[in-house]
Amino acid sequence: MASVAAQYLPILLFLGVALLLSTAFVVLPIAVARLTGAHKPSTDKLSEYECGFPAFEDSRMQFDVRFYLVAILFIIFDLEAAFLYPWAVSLREIGWTGWLAMMGFLAELLLGFAYAWKKGALEWE
C-alpha cells in the first residue's frame, strides 16, 4: 500500500515545483516593475478594454443557454466515460456478461443522446 502511494509522491512534488515556478512568473514581474519604474498605473490604463468608449454596462451579462446545455451534456458523457475506464481494463476478467452489460448501458445513453439530438440541443445555427 505504501509503495503505491510512494509512486504518487513525485507528482505531488512536481505540483509544488510547477506552482512555485508559475507563481514566481506572476509575482516577480510585478516586483521588478516597481523597482524599475515601469509600474505607472493611470485611470485609462486600468479601465477595462472596450472599443474606444467607456464600458457602460456590467460585462458579466446573460449568455446563451446553449453553453449551459453543452456543460450538462458534457457531465453526462464524461461520467459515462468514467464508468467505462474500469470496465476497459478488466474486460478480460468480466467476460461476455460484463461486455453485454456495458453495451446495454451504452445503448441506453445513446438513446438519450439521440433524444437530445432530435430536440435540437446540439444545434448552433
Binding site: F14, V26, V32, F63
Partner: protein
C-alpha cells in the same frame, strides 16, 4: 561531490533526487516551449513565403528569449474592475496544469518521473483542469470580450474532451492498461510484427485521426482557435492581461500543444519505440546507449510540424461547425469504435467463440 549526498538521510536524498528529476523535465519543457514558438513562427512564415523572426541571434533563434525578457520587464496591469486575486491566480493555474501532466510521459524504457498505474487517467484529469484557468481569466477580467471568449473556450474544451475520453478507452482496451509505459510496450510489433504503432492498425487508425483533430481543438489551435478570434474577440480571454501573466497563457498553450504531440506519439505511434521493430533501431549500433529519447522527440517534432502546417493552411471554423464536428461526428464515431474494439477483442483475444 557524491559523498555529501550519500551521507544524507534517505528521506532527504529522495526529496533532492526527485526535485532534480522534476527540474530535468520542467526546465527542458520550458526551453522546448520557447523554441517551439520560434519554430511555429518560422514554419508559418515559410509557408507564407516570408522570412519570419531572423534578427535576434543567429537565424533569429533567440527571438523567444528576447520576447520573454521584454514581457518580463513590462508593467503588470490589473484593471480596476477585475477581481485582483482571481485575476492573478488564473494564469498560475493554466501554467501549472500545463506542466504537471508531463510527470507521467515516458521518454524511454526507464525514464518516466512517476510510473503510476493510472497514468493516462492522470493526464486526462490534469488537462481537464486547464478549463479553470481559462474560465477564471474570463470571469475575473470583468470585461466583455474575455468573458465571451472564456465561455466559448470552456464549451469547446469540454466538448472535445468527451471525444478524447472515448478515444482513450479504445487505446486502453487495446493495451489493457492505463499505465503509459505498458501502453507503449503493447505497441511493439503491433502491425505484422514489424511496425511499432497502434496507428497503423486498421481498427485504431480512425481513432488516431480523431485524436489528432481533437487535440488541436482541445488546445485551441487553428482551425479551432475561436477563443482568440481576433476579428470578434480582440485577443480572447487574455485581452486584459499584460506582462508575464499574459505570457503564461502563451507558454501554457504551447506547453499543452507539445504535450498533445507527445500524447499522439505515445498513444498511437509507438512513443519512444522506434517506428520499426528492428534491434539496431533501439540502440546506437555497437553500444548500449538507447535511442528512446531520440524517437519520442522525433515523433513529437513530426506532430508539431503537422500542427503548424494545419495552422498555416486552414481557415478558422465557425462555432456551429466546431460543435457539430465534436458532438455529431466525433462522439458517435468514437462510441462506435469503443463497441468495435471491445467486440473485436472479446471475439479474438479474451473469450473467442468456441474456445
Amino acid at each position: 561531490m557524491i559523498s555529501w549526498f550519500t551521507a544524507l538521510p534517505y528521506g532527504w536524498a529522495y526529496f533532492i533526487a526527485s526535485i532534480l528529476d522534476i527540474l530535468v523535465i520542467a526546465l527542458p519543457v520550458m526551453l522546448a516551449v520557447a523554441m517551439i514558438i520560434y519554430a511555429d513562427r518560422k514554419i508559418w512564415a515559410a509557408m507564407a513565403l516570408r522570412r519570419g523572426p531572423n534578427v535576434v541571434g543567429p537565424f533569429g533563434l533567440l527571438q523567444s528569449f528576447a520576447d520573454g525578457l521584454k514581457v518580463f520587464l513590462q508593467e503588470t496591469i490589473i484593471p480596476t474592475a477585475a477581481n485582483r486575486t482571481l485575476f492573478l491566480i488564473a494564469p498560475v493555474i493554466t501554467f501549472t496544469v500545463a506542466l504537471i501532466a508531463w510527470a507521467v510521459i515516458p521518454f524511454s524504457s526507464f525514464s518516466v518521473l512517476a510510473n503510476i498505474n493510472v497514468g493516462l487517467l492522470y493526464i486526462l484529469a490534469a488537462s481537464s483542469l486547464g478549463v479553470y484557468g481559462v474560465i477564471l481569466a474570463g470571469w475575473a477580467s470583468n470585461s466583455k470580450y474575455p468573458f465571451y471568449s472564456a465561455i466559448r473556450a470552456a464549451a469547446q474544451m469540454v466538448s472535445y474532451e468527451v471525444a478524447i475520453g472515448f478515444v482513450l478507452i479504445s487505446v486502453v482496451l487495446w493495451a489493457g492498461s492505463f499505465n503509459m509505459q505498458t501502453i507503449v510496450l503493447a505497441q511493439k510489433g503491433e502491425v505484422l510484427g514489424l511496425i511499432n504503432a497502434n496507428g497503423f492498425n486498421p481498427l485504431l487508425f480512425p481513432m488516431a485521426v480523431v485524436f489528432l483533430i481533437s487535440s488541436m481543438a482541445e488546445t485551441s489551435r487553428t482551425p479551432f482557435d475561436l477563443t482568440e478570434a481576433e476579428s470578434e474577440l480582440v485577443a480572447g480571454y487574455q485581452t486584459e492581461y499584460s506582462s508575464m501573466s499574459f505570457a503564461l497563457y502563451w507558454l501554457g498553450e504551447y506547453a499543452n500543444v507539445i504535450l498533445m504531440c507527445a500524447l499522439n506519439a505515445t498513444l498511437f505511434w509507438g512513443g519512444w519505440l522506434p517506428p520499426l521493430d528492428l534491434p539496431f533501431l533501439y540502440h546506437i549500433p555497437g553500444t548500449t546507449i538507447g535511442l528512446g529519447l531520440f524517437w519520442i522527440l522525433f515523433k513529437m517534432a513530426v506532430f508539431f510540424f503537422i500542427f503548424s502546417w494545419v495552422k498555416a493552411t486552414l481557415p478558422r471554423y465557425r462555432y456551429d461547425q466546431l460543435m457539430r464536428l465534436g458532438w455529431k461526428i466525433f462522439l458517435p464515431l468514437s462510441l462506435l469504435f469503443v463497441f468495435l474494439v471491445s467486440g473485436w477483442l472479446m471475439l479474438t483475444r479474451f473469450h473467442p467463440i468456441g474456445a
